[in-house]
């Protein structure tokens, strides 16, 4: 394992320390229990948005704390859900009285810990669960689909509504709409190495890719030989379009997300391929996002997220945001 580490046990703490120092103008890192909050207090009447999850997906979620997005983020150990006391402390710290909306990715550990945190918090609160990953079949009898990159879009769009004094109910409704109108598919070329494990999470041949990979290096649906980008992107988009079923002339946001180890050069190439394929199907791309937003440590690979947009979604996407990882309009 080659990583910047002093001591494996201090890995998270030292990384959070650095994050706090680098972005001291907008956020504050609180320890024991760990949570990242905005530097300023939540304005009265504004619903607070709190997300969180295992670390190793940076900039998600700490990088999305700030104006127009989250009020707090709870980082767990690498790839392990955060603990209920973190969510409770974060909620007590940020709630201005208008209530707290927890944004949770659909993974069993996150669901259970957020549920317990919500039970321990005495203030008004509600939750939305993201499950945009089309690689996994949905069913009410199973854990269902994973919550992955579209969580970034949910946090941005709902964050804007909350900033404009949307109620807890309205924020939840919009978040669910964004989630429902999103589909994501991921591909990995290499594994990632969890610092505590010291070795790659999975073995993969030099000429192989994992189609439908999750954001923890958990295996996807199939292992395939690597193909030209156009073929991979086409297969990814097909899975998404099968699920989302956009109509001709539907407006969409196309989000190419890097898994951490793939350079932007390649992500833009993927964007180009995706544009061409979507254009040939008559689907209009009205907004774009390309970069490493929901990563899996140093994994090479990318995910594609397509979001069907209506006026409400577009308006809130365009609204100003100022966080460590996303900034425009202010």
């Amino acid at each position: 394992m080659k990583k910047f580490i002093n001591n494996v046990d201090d890995f998270l703490k030292e990384s959070l320390n650095g994050f706090g120092k680098a972005h001291s103008d907008i956020i504050k890192v609180n320890f024991e229990p760990n949570f990242i909050s905005r530097k300023t207090k939540t304005k009265e009447g504004k619903v607070s948005l709190i997300s969180g999850g295992g670390s190793g997906h940076e900039p998600m979620h700490g990088g999305f704390v700030g104006h127009g997005m989250l009020d707090a983020a709870c980082p767990g150990f690498v790839f392990s859900a955060p603990t209920p006391d973190q969510m409770q402390a974060a909620a007590e710290h940020v709630d201005s009285g208008a209530g707290v909306l927890f944004i949770v990715k659909n993974y069993s550990g996150d669901i259970m810990n957020f549920q317990m945190g919500a039970e321990m918090y005495s203030g008004k609160n509600d939750s939305i669960i993201t499950n945009d990953d089309v690689a996994v079949e949905d069913s009410t009898f199973t854990t269902g689909r994973r919550g992955v990159a579209a969580t970034v879009l949910v946090e941005k769009i709902v964050g804007s509504l909350a900033e404009n004094r949307g109620s807890l109910e309205e924020c939840k409704k919009l978040g669910e709409k964004v989630n429902k109108n999103s589909g994501t598919m991921g591909v990995a070329f290499t594994s990632c190495t969890v610092p505590a494990a010291g070795k790659p999470t999975f073995d993969i041949g030099n000429d192989e890719m994992e189609f439908g990979v999750g954001i923890h290096g958990e295996p996807g649906r199939k292992r395939e030989k690597i193909q030209p980008s156009k073929t991979i992107v086409n297969n990814m988009l097909e899975a998404i379009l099968d699920d989302l079923k956009p109509q001709k002339n539907d407006k969409t946001l196309l989000f190419i997300n890097g898994m951490g180890g793939t350079p932007l050069t390649e992500l833009y190439l993927v964007y180009d391929d995706a544009c061409e394929i979507l254009k040939s199907k008559g689907i209009e791309i009205t907004r774009s996002l390309v970069g490493n937003y929901c990563t899996s440590l140093e994994m090479q690979g990318a995910s594609i997220t397509l979001l069907k947009c209506d006026e409400e979604i577009l308006k809130n996407w365009d609204a100003p945001v100022h966080t460590a990882a996303m900034r425009w309009g202010m």
């Binding site: 859900a81 209920p84 317990m116 990953d133």
Partner: protein
Amino acid sequence: MSVNFLISQAKNIQIVIDENAAEIEALDQNIGDGDHIFNVQRGLKLVVELEKDIKNLPLQKGLNMIAMKVLSGIGGSSGALFGTFFMSMAKTPDLDGNIDFNKACEMVITGINAMKERGKADVGEKTMMDVLIPVSEKLNELKSGNTDMNEGLSEIIKIAEDRMLATKDMLATKGRASFLGERAKGHIDPGARSSQLIIDTICKSLLNK
């Protein structure tokens, strides 16, 4: 059962889990993401380190402190589930007096029921509940019957092992492995394996005493 009993069990379990860590990690890498063993190890270390703070406390208080430690120190599914286990054990009525075998069974059953509720998982879903639920059912039988304790413990050891092995051919419908579909088949569930090792260690320490 007493706080000291719990601490000494945690120490025994820690040794066994460490001995089998590589195997559990490998199982998790096959069908999960490899964090389970670290979470279990971290939790055991935290409980063992609590010794000086809780060794003279009454059982209920000690259990609550263990629960909070586990809940806030582990993370992941294991933290929520084991934290729920200890928290619910502490809520078993009448913990002030002497805790005999029947009472101890009642506590464990209460704890496992709460885990089942929290995780919304039942037998057959390829999780640790595949081991824990049948063990809880057997404890319930032992509690109300006249079975010899040694015989009962041996039966539990057997049940835990059989049920752990049975997860190998299951499709996962809950937890991280559920995302794999058919590919989860052929691998023992890591949570089932760690739970079985914990039960095995406790039961063996009680045999012939």
